[in-house]
């Protein structure tokens, strides 16, 4: 897509929110106001889930040569779609920049944000969002060119640093610089491709974003070894699935889809063995896969929703290994608490 396409979209996006909020016809046509109806019914009626993803971040959300969206975040969109419809293909991906993503969600342009979005208090409250689940624990880091010879972020005094506007990254950067008495010049460009382009062209000495994003960008370069990610991690970035505030039923579906992926890994249910696992004697597996009880119905879904989701995308480990491992991201804090002492933990399916 030519760069100006999205620039115009960005400009229009904010204005569109004003319109969408002002015109009840427009707002109701796209999504019912949260007070009485909910996104869940609206998605059902539409027969399609509209999922807000990144504009193109390797490993998370990027169209392949066939135009099919690939990556961790894109697979989460498919998992939620499979949970609702039993068919992962009933999803439409809407690429959103860091700046328009919340507007897109608020105005009903997308149903859910699966898009490297950090869960913060102000976003959870004043911005009118709810975060359903943290599906990736991340932290902010710095990447420099190897040739620069920098070994630590503390050496970045006086540097020019590339950063995307409208992100927690931008605010963390100024907090960190203030705390460490480091002066820097920001270069602030909205489009991911262009901020990376500016960094690669040498406009900036360092590029800062979530470590996973740095790894993705590094792996996408012709010579990844020309770039090095510095050891410091300066923030907590719990990347979470975002929905509109006051939309509890839909938030439940999104949240438990994530927990399902975790539990499936915990109990060893994979894309390949999910059918055989239906005969597994463990009671929780029986409940999860719909052989016993009505957990699916409690969510307002088909009782075989879990089978559909796992058949579509596999469990959390499979999903992770398929999308993020190839670009050099380790499980780290995203390992399961129950088996490897990581942070990912699912409440019981009961």
């Amino acid at each position: 897509m030519p760069p100006f396409g999205l620039s115009i979209a960005r400009a229009m996006g904010a204005a569109a929110l004003g319109l969408a909020l002002a015109l009840p016809g427009v707002a109701q046509a796209q999504q019912a106001p949260a007070a009485n109806a909910n996104t869940f019914d609206a998605v059902r009626a539409r027969g399609q889930l509209v999922c807000g993803v990144n504009t193109g971040l390797a490993g998370f959300a990027q169209p392949d040569s066939q135009g099919v969206w690939r990556g961790f975040d894109a697979e989460y969109c498919r998992a939620i779609t499979a949970a609702i419809f039993g068919d992962p293909s009933k999803v439409r991906f809407v690429p959103t920049t860091a700046q328009v993503r919340f507007t897109a969600l608020q105005s009903g342009e997308v149903d859910v944000l699966s898009r490297n979005t950090t869960w913060t208090l102000s976003r959870d409250t004043a911005l009118g969002l709810d975060f359903a689940a943290t599906n990736f624990f991340d932290g902010q880091g710095f990447m420099v060119k190897t040739a620069l010879g920098v070994k630590s972020a503390k050496e970045l005094e006086g540097a020019t640093i590339c950063v995307q506007p409208g992100t927690t990254t931008e605010q963390n950067l100024s907090d960190w610089a203030r705390a460490n008495r480091i002066r820097f010049t920001p270069v602030v460009i909205e489009r991911l491709e262009e901020i990376v382009g500016a960094f690669v062209a040498g406009r900036c000495d360092a590029y800062t974003t979530d470590v996973s994003g740095l790894a993705a960008t590094r792996s996408a370069q012709p010579k990844p070894d020309d770039y090095v990610i510095l050891p410091e991690v300066i923030s907590k970035e719990p990347l979470a699935l975002g929905v509109r505030q006051g939309d509890a039923r839909f938030a439940d579906v999104v949240r438990w889809t994530h927990f399902l992926l975790l539990s499936a890994e915990e109990f060893g249910i994979t894309q390949g063995n999910v059918d055989q696992m239906a005969n597994d004697p463990r009671p929780e597996v029986q409940r999860m896969l719909g052989r016993n009880g009505e957990l699916g119905k409690m969510l307002g879904l088909d009782n075989l929703w879990a089978v559909n989701v796992i058949k579509a995308v596999g469990n959390y480990a499979e999903l992770f290994d398929r999308t993020l491992k190839p670009i050099g991201i380790q499980r780290g804090p995203n390992a399961l608490w129950t088996t490897q002492g990581g942070l990912q933990y699912s409440p019981p399916f009961r």
């Binding site: 760069p3 100006f4 620039s7 400009a11 904010a14 204005a15 004003g18 969408a20 909020l21 002002a22 015109l23 009840p24 707002a27 106001p33 949260a34 007070a35 700046q99 919340f102 507007t103 608020q106 102000s122 976003r123 409250t125 004043a126 911005l127 009118g128 970045l156 005094e157 006086g158 540097a159 020019t160 950063v163 506007p165 409208g166 931008e170 605010q171 950067l173 100024s174 907090d175 610089a177 203030r178 820097f184 010049t185 920001p186 270069v187 602030v188 460009i189 909205e190 489009r191 262009e194 901020i195 382009g197 500016a198 062209a201 040498g202 406009r203 000495d205 509109r244 505030q245 006051g246």
Partner: protein, 400 residues
């Protein structure tokens, strides 16, 4: 015309009749229509407003301008007045406004100068010059401005890094970090001298106006240049010298990653200024050409027949008449430069739109943010329009 003369139109006016409550009464019809239109407009505004408020409440989105006093926390690369991320959103937006004005004002001046030169070149009898100007205008006008901005930005990014910076003359460095120039260390004495220059310019302008008025009265020319020299050069220099004649040059030098000291023009600002100037100059050139061609050839010949020198012909006879045609479309071009400067977001120059966008993203106050952007552009544009309309009225043909 004596005081006792009565305007004959008042005698022809129809006698005032009492208002009759009938559809056939023109005034009743007028009042009814006006009430209907105003009422409808009011209803639409109320409807939009109440729906907005309702939808914001339903979505539990906070409203109001209270966020302006909160700490912004966003880093800004270029600021004309001191700024740090601990300052408020209000100050951040003010920086954005100043950045917009910085590129718009400089852009308007440069585009006017280049546009006028190219417009005159297009009319030149020199075939090559005229054709070059023609090709320039056609190429520049036909390409989208955003594309040109990205082009200039890409070119500036292609410059060598700071450690291999181009170094044409002492103290001047050109790299992908921008253009670095030596600059004097600004002290109070410089501010005083600048103030004296500004006051001198105002005085010179009034003196010149007075001199022209007196010349029209008695026909005696009064030279303005001695006063101009005194007010614009001698006085500021004298004040600067009296304040101790401070003169310390701040040379840029490479320290660590980047250059320190000196005056910096960032690639983002430079690309935006270059793009806006070259693009708008193409349009202004055509406006200037049209204005000059609009002056009838007889005016040139008549002025020459009076014995005026070519320069005088242009200055005293042709330009005053051409300006009347040039000014109104020129106003539109100035407005365009200002509004087009919002394309800055594409190349990372932090103007009002960029900072307001980040603000509304961080605070979620989309409607307030957009309202601020609209108020800013409306204010700038109305100011330009008012000034240009005043100027247009001033140079309008005075019929005697």
């Amino acid at each position: 015309m004596s005081q006792t003369t009565i305007d004959p139109r008042s005698l022809r006016a129809p006698p005032r009749r009492p208002l009759r409550l009938s559809w056939s009464d023109e005034r009743v019809r007028a009042i009814v229509w006006q009430i209907l239109v105003v009422g409808l407009l009011g209803a639409i505004v109320w409807w939009l407003w109440s729906n907005t408020v309702h939808n914001l409440e339903v979505r539990r989105i906070a409203t109001g301008f209270g966020f302006l006093n909160r700490e912004a926390g966003l880093p800004i690369a270029e600021n004309l007045i001191p700024y740090s991320p601990t300052d408020t959103y209000f100050r951040a937006l003010l920086i954005g406004l100043l950045n917009t004005l910085k590129v718009a004002v400089v852009g308007i001046i440069l585009a006017t100068v280049f546009g006028t030169l190219i417009g005159i070149a297009r009319l030149s009898k020199n075939w090559l010059l005229s054709k070059i100007a023609g090709v320039y205008i056609e190429v520049i006008r036909d390409l989208p401005l955003l594309l040109q901005l990205l082009f200039w930005y890409a070119i500036l990014q292609g410059l060598p890094g700071p450690r291999q910076a181009l170094h044409p003359v002492g103290g001047v460095f050109l790299s992908n970090r921008g253009l670095k120039l030596p600059w004097i260390e600004w002290q109070d004495a410089h501010s005083y001298a600048l103030l004296a220059f500004a006051l001198g310019a105002v005085f010179t302008w009034f003196y010149r106006r007075d001199a022209i008025r007196k010349r029209i009265a008695d026909g005696r020319p009064r030279p303005v240049w001695p006063v101009a020299l005194g007010c614009l050069v001698v006085l500021p220099v004298a004040i600067w010298a009296a304040a101790g004649a401070p003169w310390t040059v701040d040379w840029p030098e490479l320290r660590g990653f980047n250059f320190r000291g000196g005056l910096n023009m960032s690639p983002e600002y430079f690309a935006l200024l270059l793009g806006l100037t070259t693009y708008t100059a193409g349009f202004i050139a055509e406006i200037v050409r049209a204005g000059i061609l609009a002056v009838p050839h007889g005016q040139w010949e008549a002025a020459q027949a009076l014995g005026l020198r070519p320069g005088q012909v242009l200055k005293q006879v042709v330009l005053p008449q051409a300006l009347r045609v040039i000014i109104p479309p020129m106003t539109s071009q100035y407005l365009n430069i200002t509004k087009n400067s919002s394309l800055a977001v594409a190349i990372g120059y932090q103007d009002i739109v960029s900072i307001a966008n980040t603000t509304l993203n961080q605070t979620g106050q989309a409607i307030e943010g957009i309202a601020i952007i609209m108020v800013v552009y409306l204010s700038i544009s109305l100011s330009i329009s008012l000034f240009m309309n005043w100027y247009n009225a001033k140079i309008a043909l005075v019929e005697r």
